[in-house]
């Protein structure tokens, strides 16, 4: 499968099945759609392909240039970097039967919150239920469960989440200490992270976070009016003025690494590039601003009619990011991060986020759910930290969820970057995990295109790695 598109004066060709990405001139860009159907029919004879391309009247270039370009295309095909076949779908049978272990938990340290964010999927921290803080005993059992069910995995992740986890800070500290005490004996390494709205953050907590947390996620939506509209205190006052200085201090204390400013954009701020740039102007260099996921009934939900404008906004943001990077003032925008040469293997790209299998959420009273987005949906209650997983059928359902189980994903060029999207979104919007949340898909595809374009723009004169080039040299 080939996906090609134009962005910022680059002609980009993605060979989906090999993961290869090519920047091509207009000749090759015009030619690829003519060659692809021939390749799909198994026609690879260079003379036939050259003749077919030359015969088509709508490529206005000299014959010798066309032939030269065809030869380059065919060299890449031979090197497995263009028109490569999908060899993964047949491997999915084994994939579905794979052994899985639990390697990550999302601990809901508090079903409680000191803000009243309007888009909160957890209903202001309560997750359709009662306010509750996780006890140390339940947390210990959760960590014991994780260690016991993690097989040979060395790296284990524990996310302190909520609600607002700093409302139960002592338990966070105690659980980190407990986790550390398990590491040597069990040959494990915990990677702790914490998400916070910053309201309770103080210098002692910051010192602890900087000592123990591999990553910290700081919730801040962008411009003051944008943030305060959606993230007020219960009395309606905005929280921007309180949290911004604390977050700036946090980011600086971590040398601008290993944290994210995490914002959410909604229908009310479709010009969200302004919020991203505002966050950078405040001094943040690790920024993630992501679309709200909400029912259509909410005024702030992203609507289908918003999509063209949002896509233009991603384009605008990408160009500005390149400009700032070239001026030495670059920053990282999470959804434009892409590691083309060192990205995940296919096994990971097929398994996706690991919800319901490798990754589970734990409620304050110790119930296990596939992820934080399913907490409170009783039909997805999988078990508890005392008895472990009771509902193997739910685990199997998630285990079998992959891009080849989803018709729309099978045909999508972004499938190995997206891995099928969010199962929770698919279920909540479409009633079926093997369907997709279409708005999410549209935005994901756009982001992948922007991310790759940025790579092309910043690669410029760097060395390119064409196996075909090396083979021709050999």
């Amino acid at each position: 499968m080939i996906h090609q598109y134009k962005s910022n004066d680059y002609n980009i060709v993605m060979d989906v099945n090999s993961g290869s990405v090519h920047i091509v001139d207009d000749i090759v860009y015009d030619m690829i759609p003519l060659v692809e159907p021939l390749m799909n029919e198994g026609i690879k004879d260079p003379e036939i392909i050259k003749a077919a391309v030359l015969n088509l009247a709508n490529i206005p270039y000299p014959d010798e240039v066309i032939i030269e370009a065809v030869e380059e295309v065919l060299a890449l095909e031979k090197a497995g970097q263009l028109f490569s076949p999908d060899i993964y779908e047949n491997a999915v049978f084994d994939f579905k039967n794979r052994e899985t272990v639990v390697k990550a938990l999302c601990l809901h340290i508090a079903h409680d919150c000191n803000l009243a964010c309007k888009y909160c999927f957890a209903e202001e921290g309560e997750y359709h239920g009662r306010r509750c803080h996780m006890s140390y005993e339940v947390g210990k059992k959760a960590l014991d469960f994780l260690v016991a069910h993690s097989g040979n995995r060395i790296n284990l992740e524990v996310d302190f989440f909520g609600g607002e986890p700093l409302m139960n800070y002592q338990v966070v500290k105690d659980l980190v200490a407990y986790g550390r005490s398990l590491e040597a004996a069990h040959h494990k390494k915990f990677r702790f992270t914490l998400t916070t709205n910053g309201v309770l953050l103080n210098s002692d907590m910051l010192e602890f976070i900087n000592t123990e947390m591999s990553n910290v996620v700081l919730s801040l939506d962008g411009r003051k009016e944008v943030h305060d509209r959606m993230r007020p205190f219960r009395g309606g006052q905005g929280s921007y003025e309180m949290v911004v200085p604390k977050f700036i201090e946090t980011a600086e204390s971590r040398n601008q690494e290993n944290y994210y400013i995490r914002g959410t954009f909604t229908h009310h701020n479709l010009d969200f590039a302004e919020d991203v740039l505002h966050l950078n102007d405040l001094g943040f260099q690790q920024i993630s601003v992501e679309p709200v996921v909400a029912s259509d009934k909410e005024s702030y939900a992203i609507k289908e009619m918003d999509l063209p404008g949002i896509k233009r906004e991603y384009d605008r943001l990408a160009l500005e990011m390149i400009r700032r990077h070239k001026e030495g003032k670059g920053f990282n925008f999470f959804h434009f991060m892409i590691d083309l040469s060192g990205g995940p293997c296919v096994a990971k790209r097929l398994s996706g986020c690991g919800s319901g299998t490798e990754y589970l959420a734990v409620t304050p009273w110790g119930d296990l759910y596939p992820c934080h987005q399913f907490v409170g949906d009783e039909e997805f209650l999988m078990g508890n930290v005392e008895e472990g997983i009771i509902r193997d059928d739910i685990r199997n359902q998630f285990k079998c969820c992959n891009v080849y189980a989803k018709d729309k994903c099978k045909k999508c060029f972004a499938r190995f970057y997206c891995s099928g999207g969010c199962a929770a979104n698919a279920f909540h919007f479409k009633g079926n995990m093997n369907d997709v949340y279409d708005i999410g898909c549209e935005l994901q595809r756009k982001r992948v295109e922007c991310a790759i374009m940025i790579k092309a723009a910043l690669a410029e004169e760097e060395v390119f790695d064409s196996r075909a080039d090396r083979q021709s040299i050999i």
């Binding site: 920047i23 992270t193 040469s341 293997c345 891995s419 999207g421």
Partner: protein
């Protein structure tokens, strides 16, 4: 090559043979929490 520049990318086909260790960070697709999605990740073994 004169008409094509190829960015350096991991060969997904090769990763079928060498991948699957499972040590990489768990990734939240909707990224509401630790902001890590599969496409934005790096392989732990290749770091």
């Amino acid at each position: 090559m004169k008409h094509i520049k190829t960015l350096s990318t991991r060969d997904l086909k090769e990763s079928v043979k060498k991948g699957g260790c499972g040590e990489c960070q768990t990734s939240c697709q909707s990224a509401c929490k630790t902001s890590c999605t599969v496409g934005n990740q790096s392989c732990e073994k290749l770091k």
